[in-house]
């Protein structure tokens, strides 16, 4: 009796789990669903999605990607944009919903189908989200959109996968190093040249470093996957690659000579005592430390550290500077990891919702209304004594007519951060690795932590080789290259 009960319970568990699939999923045997898209099931992401009749008057409800409640200027801009769109499309109802994309939360949002119909994500997420079909294939919609060819090709790159487009760029960036100029001035340290090298960074960090006051010369991230992401800039700068893809196989290559140089540089930073003793700094921790004036240099996407330092840390915009990732040797390239923000459409939404969301996302692209809304936002920020930090790379081409109109609009305001024009000439932005990037970052976090916390001599090559072997076996060997 008891045995029968246990067996029945086990069968029930297996059946329950098998049934717990996403909307419109397959049966427990894993065969794909043939059910057509309906009001309650996700549309099939396909290139012919644009064929659906989005222009019909059938009522459609979608949710839009809202800002946190304290970002009143940004939310006001969004609400005004929703109003303008719904006046043109009275059949569409748009509800702003606040959830900011987090890679640790997206799976739960998808499992519960509670992510917005259109949401913003990062360049790093393109492969993952498209592979899992959590975002829709926009190729068909893009084909019908007259401005698709005017988009900045560099910015588009991460979300064009196997010839299909999965996202619309908002802005893009390359990794940079943000410098607190005031700390340099306080210690009488001259600023390094913009065309700087690893040695220049190390010397500057040593000179401006003040451990007694808790001021670090340089703040690398050491906690979480972001530590591997930070280190990859030095890997790229030394000419290295994370992985190679050949004959359908992904091979770890970050344990190369370039990888060793990059890790040796981290060891030099540690040995010179120019990094915070608290190595456990994630993205937010590192930027907070910088905003508090407890670090002279921090590495992150261009503009992001600036925005926090100026608008939250209340550091004057004249006291923060942006530098490219230093070159390995004088005259070398300043290669940094590329990134950016993208609009994507929820793969679980219905075809009608997806079309309405795409129309909403691109509604004001390349229009004066978009420029006017940014203009209003800058004015609003000015009234709050805030500074608008534009991104280095936008969805349009800077030399286009639209790009010039944007520059003219920015020029009207005093509260806009102005980049050194030489910066973009020096920067070379390189996309992140394509496969199992998070697994690689997570493993590199352990290596970096060893370098930051262990005393004495370390066999850095062995650390890299061990990490490469582990990532290879645990992740890269399982990749099926399409």
């Amino acid at each position: 009796m008891r045995k029968t009960f246990v067996l029945s319970l086990l069968a029930l568990m297996l059946a329950a789990a098998g049934c717990g699939k996403g909307n419109g999923g397959s049966d427990a045997s894993g065969s794909p669903s043939s059910a057509p898209a309906s009001a309650s099931s996700p549309s099939k992401p396909s290139a012919d999605a644009s064929a659906s009749d989005s222009a019909s008057d059938k009522p459609v409800e979608i949710t839009a990607y809202a800002y946190p409640p304290d970002k009143t200027a940004e939310n006001a801009t969004l609400n005004a944009r929703i109003k303008r769109f719904t006046e043109k499309h009275p059949n569409v109802t748009i509800k702003p919903v606040y959830w900011w994309y987090e890679n640790t939360e997206v799976a739960v949002k998808m499992a519960s189908n509670s992510a917005q119909t259109e949401f913003t994500t990062w360049a790093t997420e393109a492969k993952l989200l498209s592979e899992k079909k959590w975002i829709a294939d926009l190729t068909g919609y893009m084909a019908d959109w007259p401005y698709a060819n005017d988009l900045n090709k560099l910015a588009m790159q991460p979300f064009v996968i196997d010839g299909k487009t999965y996202g619309v760029p908002i802005d893009a960036y390359g990794m940079t190093i943000t410098i607190n100029k005031k700390l340099f001035e306080q210690k009488g340290v001259p600023l390094p040249p913009l065309d700087w090298t690893w040695d220049d960074l190390l010397e500057a960090a040593k000179a401006v470093n003040d451990p007694a006051k808790g001021i670090a010369g340089f703040i690398p991230m050491g906690k979480g996957t972001e530590s591997g992401w930070n280190w990859t800039n030095f890997l790229y700068s030394a000419g290295g690659e994370v992985q190679s893809v050949a004959d359908g196989k992904v091979t770890a290559t970050f344990n190369s000579e370039a990888g060793l140089k990059a890790l040796e540089f981290y060891k030099k930073l540690k040995d010179a005592n120019v990094i915070p003793k608290n190595w456990a700094l994630g993205y937010g921790d590192a930027l907070t430390l910088f905003n508090q004036g407890r670090g002279a240099m921090v590495m992150c996407g261009s503009g992001n550290a600036l925005d926090g330092a100026i608008n939250q840390g209340k550091i004057s915009k004249d006291d923060v500077l942006l530098y490219p990732i230093p070159s390995f040797a004088k005259g070398g390239e300043h290669v940094g990891v590329a990134g950016g923000n993208y609009k994507v459409i929820n793969g679980l939404a219905t075809a009608e919702q997806q079309k309405a969301a795409f129309d909403f996302v691109v509604d004001e692209y390349f229009t004066d209304a978009y420029l006017d809304s940014i203009d209003a936002q800058i004015t609003s920020q000015n009234s709050k004594k805030q500074v608008y930090v534009p991104q280095l790379i936008n969805y349009w081409n800077d030399d286009s007519e639209y790009g010039r109109k944007y520059e003219a609009m920015l020029a009207k305001h005093d509260n806009v951060y102005k980049y050194d024009p030489e910066l973009t000439k020096l920067m070379v932005s390189k996309p992140e690795a394509t496969y199992e990037t998070q697994a690689y970052y997570a493993e590199m976090a352990n290596v970096i932590q060893k370098v930051f916390t262990m005393k004495g001599d370390l066999d850095l090559q062995k650390l890299l080789d061990d990490a490469a072997a582990k990532v290879q076996q645990a992740s890269f060997d399982k990749v099926v290259v399409q």
Partner: protein, 289 residues
């Protein structure tokens, strides 16, 4: 007969319904589904695929698993050694106070009401090289203490968590102490028992069952530790604070492999169920017939 019993307990059963619903939705169904997911490749959009024992084979072959198990056991052990006796000592001390028992309880409980986000920020500052602890050490001529090193990280976490949690456990002990008959203390005093003798022969035996219960609860809680390990150290340095549950969290939310994460959860569930059954059997054996 059954119907008469049902009628007899109908009101009681009615009051149980909300609890049953809550437990069903938030506990029992997730447990059952979690066990089921461990046999599947989980895909929320395309549907799940049955993979048999593959998830279990993969998690057992993961080189981080022994590290996570070891770290969890080390954490459980030191949390017991460092933290378990503090609420008992606090409760006994408070109960021995002739005055200010109320304020003492409030002061002891205060750390428990601090939100986690504030707690981590506060202790990050305490442990900072220029924070209050190291500033004090420097001021008395002692060297700086590295709370973030591989050898110290786990103790830094235990100190922080003991500080935050001892108040709520102490309150439970205080309630337990209040239930010890006063005449036992009076009899002990008449027999000439001092404070230590009263604690040794009256107080501690009086809360023995409570101590055992809180011991099991602490073991279960510390075996599931991951929040402070993740937020303070991200499992580092070099996996020194990577606990079993943090490994599970990584599988689910860094690698998005919910099948492997569920397999880890199932193994954990079986282990904890075995411990609970063992404890229950031991306690039954201990009970007077």
């Amino acid at each position: 007969m059954a119907f008469r019993s049902l009628r007899r307990y109908s009101w009681g059963l009615l009051f149980l319904i909300p609890e049953i619903v809550i437990f069903l939705v938030f506990l029992w169904i997730p447990i059952v589904k979690g066990i089921g997911y461990s046999f599947y490749k989980v895909d929320f959009v395309s549907g799940n695929t049955f993979v048999g024992l593959r998830n279990f084979r993969e998690v057992l072959a993961n080189p981080d698993l022994p590290t996570a198990v070891k770290n969890t056991l080390v954490y459980m052990f030191w949390a017991l050694v460092i933290g378990f006796w503090i609420p008992i000592a606090m409760a006994v001390s408070v109960s021995e106070l002739k005055r200010f028992q109320g304020p003492a309880r409030i002061v002891g409980y205060l750390p428990s009401i601090i939100p986690a986000i504030v707690l981590y920020g506060m202790w990050q500052w305490f442990y900072d090289p220029v924070g209050p602890i190291n500033t004090f050490l420097n001021s008395v001529g002692l060297p700086e203490f590295d709370f973030y090193s591989k050898g110290h990280a786990v103790f830094s976490l235990i100190i922080m968590e003991t500080w935050q949690n001892f108040g709520s456990a102490a309150l439970i002990y205080v309630a337990g102490l209040a239930s010890i008959p006063k005449d036992l203390y009076e009899a002990a005093e008449l027999d000439g028992a001092g404070v230590w003798a009263r604690i040794r022969y009256v107080t501690l035996p009086g809360i023995k069952n409570l101590v055992l219960l809180l011991l099991v609860l602490q073991l279960i809680a510390t075996s599931q530790a991951f929040q402070s390990q993740m937020l303070m150290f991200g499992g580092g340095p070099d996996n020194a604070t990577l606990t079993y549950l943090l490994l599970m969290t990584r599988e689910a939310f860094v690698y998005f492999d919910f099948g492997r994460a569920s397999a880890l959860a199932t193994l954990m569930f079986l282990f904890l169920a075995a411990i609970s059954i063992l404890t229950l059997k031991l306690r039954r054996g201990d009970d007077p017939a």
